[in-house]
Symmetry: C2
Subunit: 355 residues, 2 copies
């Protein structure tokens, strides 16, 4: 059992060295690509990537943005089909850029003021400039992948553009969910939530795992299995994010405690609790159905009720089920065992960080 | 000499039939592509394209969005290299989508509340949703072109992504120009303005003219000449837009009179007037350098001074010079005369509409 805020930082395993190895392979190309941008969007892009503060001053390596999961999945995907990690670099750069683009624009849409222990990009630079920063990251991603050239580069662009379609679709659903009631016939059910999560988070993870193999000219059988493994992993990540959005330690999430509850965001733990047919679930429905904003005490109470109704355990199980499905995908086709081993331990590390 | 509001609607030639012919060829594919979007971004995209009102109700053909210049240039570009217009359709769809994306996001960045006689997309649907609508149009453009397949499809994606880089660069410059003073060493000079206009408006027009030839497998010599012709045409369009931003009849522009002056936008007529070394230019500098907002009388006075200082005539001449340069590009390589004739008369119609 974790503490109420879900922080187990002291007990957590250190990040697997594969993240650093892949970062060393990809980040120089990522920095080279970003350096080609106009100075102003470049500053905002570097800020969004966690490389500098809002004034453009470099920040220390301890603070340098995300974990680089997508770039690592791209490199490991290539290695899993027996290609050198180098073959994935253009794809890894593209998926990191698209990921950053989506964070910048999603923070505008969601009104999120904090991201990774600093202001979100729109909060630091203004909404209009942040729209431009996101657009420049998006365009740079497409340009990077299109520049990889050849038939495999073109196929990689098709994969990326398919993922972008899904990403936008999932974000649209997620935003629309916010306007739907918690209960009654118009409420969001768990299957609809799952479809949204696969699109919003799964699509880009699927693309990340497949883009290296696609660039390396792997068969559709292999790239298809890796796409599906990535999608499942993405759904698992979304479940973990949902847990962090309620019980995450603000010190490690960089966001306020109970953030998603206060915003009445439709997340899996809450939906599962409401669907639980328990007294706690019914009390939660009454609390959420009120129009009044949730204050600190209400949010604390809602988090308790979600847990009591089984929403937290349900979501943990959902995450583990998706990770298992991802591993099944990896086992369903002939891949290089060493790379598969690294993919498995990376995915377990990322899920275990908060379960 | 045109009237103060620049309206000569009664005297204007009817649009050349080539616009309707190209629309008939491209619009079905454009509508098919947009129909594949998630219903919510689809509604916003259709609104931005001028196909429906904010409630999703179809609007009459008289009101249906832009003139479709970019799709016509794409079709005529293909025909100019002796390919059927059909060969350009995926490219024409992509450039219309990117154009619409850029209008939606630029209106957010510029705070423009009106566009084509209706509310701008962010004004009608909210900023966050409009960011999403733009993203979905952008993603759809890349997907459409990537789906064209083959080496020529891949080359077309490279052209489009290069144009997107330029577009973002030009928009960044344009936004930064707004914060620079009218006079003194930090002022925007005409060469800097020209570089911005070539990027912001020229890049996508260049891509529009070249994408058909690229998809049809034309030689780099031909597609290069058409790219440059499109860039020059784009710079001419920007000059005309600058004239419309000051003297355009609100009934035909769909924007308030003197809109750009009130917003102190750095446009060519004003920059040329300030650089004119005339009494009117110096009086204009005094008026603009004041921090107070320009009221109706000030804006009227500023427009008079710009004209008196020669800014209007300078900008007209600039537009005509760019059109002539575009025509020179078309004459510099062997192209199909009939298509070149249509390109010439289309570009002249578009420029003459307000000169």
């Amino acid at each position: 059992m974790t503490s109420r805020t879900g922080s187990r930082t002291g007990l957590q395993a250190p990040p697997p060295p594969v993240l650093d190895r892949c970062r060393a392979l990809v980040e120089p190309a990522l920095r080279t690509a970003v350096r080609t941008l106009h100075p102003w969007p470049r500053r905002m892009a570097s800020f969004s990537l966690g490389w500098c503060d809002a004034d453009g001053l470099p920040v220390g390596p301890g603070n340098s943005g995300g974990k680089g999961v997508r770039q690592a999945l791209a490199v490991l995907g290539a290695e899993a089909v027996d290609a050198p990690g180098d073959a994935a670099v253009a794809g890894a750069v593209a998926v990191e850029l698209v990921h950053t683009f989506s964070l910048v624009h999603d923070d505008i849409m969601d009104g999120d003021e904090r991201r990774r222990h600093q202001e979100s990009t729109w909060k630091a630079f203004g909404t209009g400039p942040a729209v431009l920063a996101g657009d420049s990251l998006f365009a740079l991603a497409v340009e990077t992948l299109a520049g990889a050239g050849g038939e495999s580069g073109a196929e990689a662009v098709r994969h990326l553009s398919g993922a972008l379609r899904e990403l936008v679709h999932g974000q649209a659903d997620d935003l629309l969910f916010e306007n739907r009631p918690w209960t009654g016939p118009q409420a969001v059910d768990i299957p609809a939530y799952r479809a949204m999560a696969l699109r919003k988070t799964g699509s880009l993870l699927g693309c990340a795992m497949a883009v290296g193999p696609v660039l390396a000219g792997a068969s559709p059988l292999l790239s298809g299995a890796l796409t599906e493994a990535g999608r499942q992993l993405g759904a698992a990540f979304q479940a973990v994010d949902d847990l962090l959005g309620i019980w995450g330690d603000p010190e490690s999430t960089g966001k306020p405690v109970h953030n998603d509850l206060r915003r009445r965001k439709k997340t899996l733990p809450v939906l599962a609790a409401l669907a639980s047919d328990t007294t706690a679930g019914r009390r939660l429905a009454l609390l959420l159905d009120s129009d009044a904003p949730l204050d600190t005490a209400d949010a604390y109470c809602a988090a308790e009720l979600v847990e009591e109704a089984g929403g937290r355990a349900f979501t943990m199980a959902e995450a583990r089920r998706h990770v298992a499905a991802a591993h099944d995908c990896l086992d369903s086709v002939p891949l290089v065992p060493r790379a598969v081993g690294e993919l498995r331990s990376l995915s377990e590390f990322l899920i275990d960080r908060q379960l």
